[in-house]
């Protein structure tokens, strides 16, 4: 069956919106740039694409509308009738038909213009064709304005219809306006229908759900029905009639005993008889409502007779009052039971009995002997049941304790502990000692193990394991150690001293260094040699070079001949020179030979060094007045 949930229908846009939407979509989603120097097939393709795109969009959207809206032939006759009542079947079908026609027209337009586009030979022509095509499509749609508006309204109303399942268990309430149908449904279900003193408060069908015998039941509230012939009924009443006609439900005809609704009992009876045909094949119950105001027994003779007649015909009459809830439950149970029985009967008679037979009939194995075999209920269950029934004094909860003690309350779960000595319950249990977890040591036989360990320890001690060995070091060893440490120290110092040497610089031979007498004597005495009284030793004789120059005494002859010989030789610039004239010539010759060199600034013949390879004054600047023969 089609869905009874009409909320999924797409929004139907107005004609104007629809056109705007599609055209803007075409503009956005197709390429927009075209020039007249492009190749003609490209231009044609460009415009054809636009036409086809627009057509595609319209087509899609309209198809969607057509499929979304329910086809009156496909849905349950109850809904078909309801929609007919509300929206007029003809109008509905017409609107959809118009939309369909529009769709086809648009398709045709697009086809034609695409065909024409093939013969367009310039950008201008193609563009005009496209304009024409789009224009025609939009005009077609503009003409559908009325249909689209109507369909949008239908959609909105449809989505708000209550979802009534025509196949499930339903109770239907009907009667004159203001008799108390809505109050009843409010009482029995969770529905919240408006209840007001004026007539036709309920203008459409309302659904409520309730539970009975672990099943879900629908209760349908209808608008009040007045007593006219069928043709003269208005839309609101027709809804109620439709519901009555198509739903297989238990009917609850509500009558107002106190006549507060504004209609006499006779009129209500009239209506009842008129609608009688609609109640065929449905379990019927008459509710005499508002009995808190007036009971049937308080009525006049004629009116009581009415009720007597009805019950004589086999229809159950139950006095109810929605206000005091008297009889409401009774009505409910009665109606539900009868409807269930009715449905079961119907199913039994139908072809599909065997599918549901397991739900209708409980098969019990046949007794093979006369022995009684009652079901076994364990004692504990019986006790529990008994305990549940009697009001046993509940044990004191922590919450009660908390409330009692107020601020002083502390949650102390230790009091529920199950220990061997209950007086230990409030102990603070130690967990850690010196970085060890006490829980790791807990062992029932820890004392025994400890004893073993201690014994072992004693044995070890006796065996002498823990004796601290005396440092059996005699004097000799001590001395050796001391000497060894001194040696090591000395070595380290020597290594350090050698590291401070300059290994990269010039190396002087050892003999070039002068040896200090003081350092020599100190070193040797450190090594243990006796260095006192060494003035006569070879190293203590002062060398000649250290002798300080004394004042020369006249009588003392020179001890060496070194200076005297050199005194007699002539100076080099005078040797071989015969006289002063030659000396003068020699001197000029010397000076002139040096002149050239001096002028060139050279040290000698081999000096070819050029101080300035690129002198700026020669290489920079423009070639101004002056010679340009050279640089």
């Amino acid at each position: 069956m089609a869905l009874y949930n009409f909320k999924k229908i797409m929004v139907v846009p107005t004609a104007k919106d629809f056109i705007d939407l599609t055209l803007s979509k075409t503009q956005r989603k197709t390429p927009t740039v075209i020039h007249k120097h492009y190749q003609i097939h490209r231009i044609r393709h460009f415009y054809m694409r636009k036409v086809k795109f627009t057509q595609q969009n319209y087509h899609d959207r309209l198809s969607q509308i057509l499929t979304d809206f329910p086809k009156l032939d496909d849905i349950h006759p109850f809904y078909a009738d309801l929609m007919n009542v509300l929206y007029d079947k003809d109008h509905y079908k017409l609107a959809l038909g118009q939309i369909n026609i529009a769709k086809n027209l648009i398709d045709n337009v697009a086809k034609d213009y695409v065909r024409l586009m093939k013969y367009g030979d310039s950008l201008y022509r193609c563009k005009q064709l496209k304009r024409a095509a789009l224009g025609r499509m939009c005009t077609i749609l503009k003409r559908q304005k009325q249909s689209l508006e109507y369909l949008e309204q239908v959609r909105q109303h449809l989505s708000r219809l209550p979802t009534i399942d025509p196949n499930t268990r339903t109770l239907l309430l009907c009667g004159y306006p203001n008799v108390g149908k809505s109050s009843f449904i409010n009482k029995v279900t969770r529905a919240d229908v408006e209840v007001q003193p004026y007539a036709f408060t309920t203008k459409s069908l309302f659904v409520g759900h309730m539970d009975y015998k672990y099943l879900r039941w629908q209760v349908v509230d209808t608008p009040g029905i007045l007593d006219h012939p069928l043709e003269e009924r208005n839309t609101i009443e027709m809804q109620a009639i439709t519901a009555l006609a198509h739903l297989r439900a238990a009917v609850l005809y509500v009558m107002d005993v106190s006549e507060q609704c504004g209609h006499t009992l006779a009129q209500q009876l009239e209506l009842f008889n008129n609608i009688r045909p609609l109640f065929a094949n449905k379990p019927l119950i008459v509710m005499a409502n508002k009995c808190d105001v007036k009971k049937i027994s308080e009525l006049s003779e004629e009116n009581q007779k009415i009720f007597a007649d009805i019950s004589a015909e086999g229809v159950t009459v139950i006095e109810t009052s929605s206000l005091t809830e008297e009889g409401v439950m009774q009505v409910k149970t009665e109606a539900c039971d009868r409807l269930l029985a009715h449905r079961v009967d119907a199913k039994m008679k139908s072809k599909k009995v065997h599918d549901v037979l397991n739900r209708l009939h409980l098969a019990v194995p046949a007794k093979r002997d006369q022995k009684e075999r009652p079901p076994f209920i364990p004692e504990g269950a019986l006790l529990r049941r008994k305990a549940m029934e009697t009001d046993a004094p509940k044990r004191k909860l922590e919450r009660d304790l908390e409330v009692e003690m107020g601020d002083d309350y502390t949650l102390d779960l230790q009091k529920y502990w199950d220990l061997m000595n209950p007086e230990e319950k409030q102990d603070k249990i130690p967990e850690i000692w010196e970085g060890h977890n006490i829980a790791d040591y807990i062992d029932p036989d820890i004392m025994k193990r400890l004893e073993d360990l201690e014994q072992e320890e004693e044995l070890r001690e006796k065996a002498g394991e823990y004796d601290s060995e005396e440092e059996s070091e005699d004097e000799e060893m001590k001395e050796i150690r001391q000497l060894a440490s001194q040696i090591r120290e000395k070595r380290k110092l020597k290594i350090l001293a050698s590291k401070e040497k300059d290994t990269q610089g010039p190396r002087m031979p050892r003999t070039a260094k002068k040896v200090d007498r003081v350092t020599l004597e100190k070193e040797m005495s450190d090594l243990g040699l006796d260095m006192t009284d060494k003035n006569d030793s070879h190293y203590a004789q002062r060398s000649r070079s250290l002798v300080r120059k004394r004042k020369r005494e006249v009588s003392a002859p020179p001890l060496s001949r070194t200076r005297s010989q050199s005194a007699s030789r002539p100076p080099r610039d005078q040797s071989g020179v015969r006289d002063a004239k030659m000396l003068k010539k020699v001197k000029t010759m010397m000076k002139s030979s040096q002149k050239d060199m001096n002028r060139q600034g050279r040290k000698g013949e081999s000096d070819r060094h050029v101080f300035d390879l690129k002198p700026k004054h020669l290489l920079a600047g423009k070639r101004k007045s002056g010679t340009t023969s050279r640089r």
Binding site: E424, D427, E431, K490
Partner: protein, 161 residues
Amino acid sequence: MRIEKCYFCSAPVYPGHGMMFVRNDCKMFRFCRSKCHRNFKRKRNPRKTRWTKAFRKSAGKELTVDNSLEFEKRRNIPVKYNRELWSKTVEAMKKVEAIKNKRQARFIFNRLKKGKELEKAADISEVKKNIHLIKAPHAGQAKQLEDKMVQKLAEDVEMDE
């Protein structure tokens, strides 16, 4: 509340310290500090990282098999609280701790004994080889000779007399 062991260095992790890493196979690794955590992330083997207890135990530098070490063992079945048992356990713990420390110390001491002998031998050889750095070979010889001569003279004098 428990004091856990660091997975990497086996140090005690007190509550509120360190980090825990849980692997996809539900194995938990606790670390006492980020040093251990970072080493773990670098996939280093604690048995090869020299400063950890795992290395020391596996390399035989510390006492591994001993009765006193069997007392501290993680037990999975809790025992109901019993004041007497707990107090006895605490006392036993103290004694066991003392014994354990003694034994561990003795183990290390024995291990280091060999070193002391080697030291001795090294000293002796050092002195033998390099005594010349602090004492000249014939350091006291002059004095000795003198003494001898003095002694000899004295004897001669005596003999003469």
